[in-house]
Symmetry: C3
């Protein structure tokens, strides 16, 4: 049993050297909301601490404790979901013991989770069944609501890259629920209780019906990040520090988001991402892979302005301007003057710039200003006035 | 008195054969929220069960019980709103008695309402004045908040057809209130109590100010329907099963909605409807009858795509595509190539297809792709690549 | 000491004649929400009553009471924020005494504030530190959260004109918080308590993260004003009576709003304003001074229609129509026919109307219909069919 930090390290090494052991990609302990009628259904999984390619010592402690609690631990599978038990907690506490006194604030958060779980009051309203130990060993299609949530956490905390995780079939693992803020309710439970609830004035104020919760139900953003309406950002979205999401037409779907401080007044559809210093204008639409963009996810570069009510279905590079109200789809024919061709070639020496290009031809072409000539109706491209910061690795 | 189901049937026949009796269009028992300052004002009516062209046996029981309770029942008027009383409840229970034991779950919901009303605890906070028996005998302009709500329920539960009900003057029957979720508060009550509430930290979190509640305050959607932000769907909207309403720029007003599974990321204005398999793209606008469409309500057919930030003020048929960012109003001049005319004639043999058409000329024309030529600025129409399922009744 | 109303008037005159005294621009007593971790941080200031260029008698009573309570009152500074104390309250009550019996409803609201503060129960959960007496003497850049809020109240109650106040640096005086409805929470407090809150099922339902609250958290709108989603209107916005804000893509930022009954289904960005009888269509964007309008705030006149998904970055006058989907920026070239020039000159005799104009040239030009010719793609202007009510002062 581990009583000193050295003992702890020896114990971890011993566990990690065993043949069954494998470092997980991600893991954590979740409190789950289960169905009011069907307690076997997991409606939501809430992770106080989520580990992603980190904290392998704690992973070893948890996996070892699960084995001691009699759980079958098969690390050759892509994931593992097990119920917390007293034996599991006792085993973790024995190994974590030297760290318990200093497990406060930002220190030893997995130890804090175990300590607090072990000291939850009996009348908390929760049972052991409400807490799950969750591991992902391979990034395959998730097989449970708990691992879908673990991946959404990885995206929303910025620990995994946008578009970097296998989310195939994720929708199928989640229940469609009515939500009262961050509390999910089975639709069938509402149906069974509708008459009694309505007559007694206790029918709940449903805030939405969906399979996903919101980003702010689970993730605390950076100090300089602002989300003016929680409904505008789905869990699984990623917002770099300094991003502001306004409450008009904005929306950021899961597996989409920003890579730096971005002003978001428009839609960032699933799989789309926007670079630092860019501005998604009021009502601007960045199309997702399922919405007319031929399966190629759209990337907006750094320091680019998408004007109000503009729409883009193809990637746009750094330092560009898409004028308010202008739409650029992959197949849109765009006309350039001789002067525009020359000016764009100057800052994009490696790109082919011609007098007639398609929207999709502008991938990686920096400093473009897309406009509609208001006298001829023609969609044109010219050199933008936005600053383009050259990629230092290339020049 | 009815003690067997046969007795019940005889009783119903006896009531229905009386000269004063008339089958209602719709009826139900509502719990009403009344003004905090002016209890005569009905701020909201909540129906645990709403009957529309159905359950005439229960209607007969209710009407008979009202007469026994001394209420003047005049079925020659368009509607009736009466307060629940002990005599009313007792009369209903006597007739419903053979059904009370089996009135559970989805069975005999009107009987459940009566049973639960009769057994409401004295300290429920409600009085008989808070429950109303409501009937609509003729679809005329509603004369009360209770019947406005009954009609909104009929629309939102899909029991009445969109555009099928007389809602003239409905706004005038509803009070503009502050809402805290599903609880309405008189604005005057807030004004009278503002100082005390604010100083004591009890000023409520107002979620909106409007005459209408939200769809989700009253209606439980189908299992595969999703509404990602309750504010996006007003009570009185109709959402067919499988419809998804996203939280960006989407909105569905009352007396508007979908007729099949539809992805809604744009606006469906009052009186507009969208067919099954269609997609209302991010920020797309379908105009309502009061917003520039010459009073002709707009219908979007099946399997049609309205691109992001597109706008339509005229009906569009099945299997069409309106490109992202393109606007088609009734008077918009649209140019077709010879090839486009031929291709569209092929699948629309009964329609007049010409080389220059107005937006309004496309009503009933299937398989059209509306685009703006990005070289000439011209709005054009051609044969779309969307599948058009031919109407089997016509071919 | 004042015991009669005459005594009160004498007392006020005496105070106001003293050399240190100065009438404030605005003042009021606020209850402040302070940081859960850092009680020195003011997260929100709530004014039960806000005075703006009015009620100088109450101002004199408050300033005199602050001096009697030992607060340094320096009216040569731009603002004053002091904590409420027993001495302050006692002094105010003595002078207000003749008005206390009649201080009810709409009468003597500042007296009501003092009375209620003096009688707050000891177990209210608040201390004297939670109440601040706040004065603005000069309209300079605000130096405190309390005076930022006082100015936002002045704008949102319509007592100060839009664009009429110095809000420089206002953002810097406000804390970015998580909000649960109208309750602000420090992000650091959430971080410190995340594990315990999540494990115990008590993690709050965050409704937004921002520096500003919403309009409806502080201001009661007129009876005929409607805001269908509280997130759509930021504190500091101004909504004239009769304005309706729909829940689709609408948004009204602080220091922006309406000057009469306006239907708002689009975005009114910071510093923009819209005249009476106008209609901001679904998804329409009115750009703000920081979004591509060259620093000139945009004004929309009376009785003007901005069509769905239109966008304007320059002022548009009375009785105009901007067609759905059309964008007019300051530099947009707009073509007019001879007939259009003549028709517009007729109702705009003092304006220069030409066959080719820029968007910015239409400032003050009434009765214009902006369209895109769907055959040529050209942006054109013609005489609108909207009624233009002539300015009676000019004709």
């Amino acid at each position: 049993m581990a009583f000193t930090k050295d003992d702890f390290k020896s114990k971890i090494e011993e566990i990690q050297s065993q043949s069954w052991y494998k470092n997980p990609i991600g893991f954590g302990i979740a409190r789950v909301d289960r169905g009011q009628l069907n307690p076997e259904k997991v409606l939501q999984a809430t992770y106080p601490v989520m580990n992603w390619e980190e904290n392998y010592g704690s992973a070893a402690v948890f996996l070892n404790a699960l084995k001691e609690a009699g759980v079958e631990v098969d690390t050759s599978k892509s994931e593992l979901v097990a119920t917390v038990s007293d034996v599991f907690l006792t085993s973790c506490i024995e190994v974590f013991r030297p760290y318990i006194p200093e497990a406060k604030g930002a220190e030893h958060k997995n130890v804090q989770v175990i300590s607090q779980l072990a000291s939850l009051p009996i009348d908390s309203g929760f049972t052991a069944e409400d807490y799950k130990v969750v591991f992902i060993f391979e990034d395959e299609a998730p097989q449970s609501a708990e691992t879908v949530y673990l991946k959404l956490y990885a995206l929303s905390t910025g620990k995994a890259k946008l578009r970097g995780l296998n989310l195939n079939g994720a929708f199928g693992q989640l229940e469609n629920c009515a939500w009262v803020g961050n509390q999910p309710i089975e639709l069938d439970w509402l149906r069974e209780n509708e008459i009694a609830l309505k007559l007694s004035g206790k029918y709940p104020s449903i805030t939405k019906v969906d399979k996903f919760p919101q980003f702010l139900d689970h993730v605390i953003p950076a100090d300089n990040t602002r989300i003016l309406d929680t409904n505008k950002v789905r869990m699984g979205a990623q917002l770099a520090a300094g991003t502001t999401v306004m409450p008009g037409a904005a929306y950021i779907n899961f597996n989409a988001g920003t890579e730096g401080a971005v002003m978001v007044e428009g839609r960032i559809s699933s799989s789309a991402k926007v670079g630092k210093g860019s501005d998604v204008g009021g009502g601007a639409s960045i199309l997702g892979v399922l919405s007319g963009t031929d399966g190629v996810p759209v990337t907006i570069g750094d320091n680019t302005l998408l004007g109000a009510n503009s729409c883009t279905g193809t990637s746009i590079a750094d330092g560009c301007i898409l004028d308010a109200g202008v739409t650029i789809l992959p197949g849109t024919k765009i006309t350039l003057s001789e002067k525009a061709v020359a000016a764009l070639k100057e800052i994009n020496p490696d790109k082919e710039i011609k007098e007639l290009m398609r929207g999709m031809d502008f991938q990686g072409v920096n400093g473009v200003h897309f406009r509609q000539n208001s006298v001829t109706g023609q969609i044109i491209a010219m050199r933008s006035t936005r600053e383009v910061k050259l990629n230092e690795d290339l020049h």
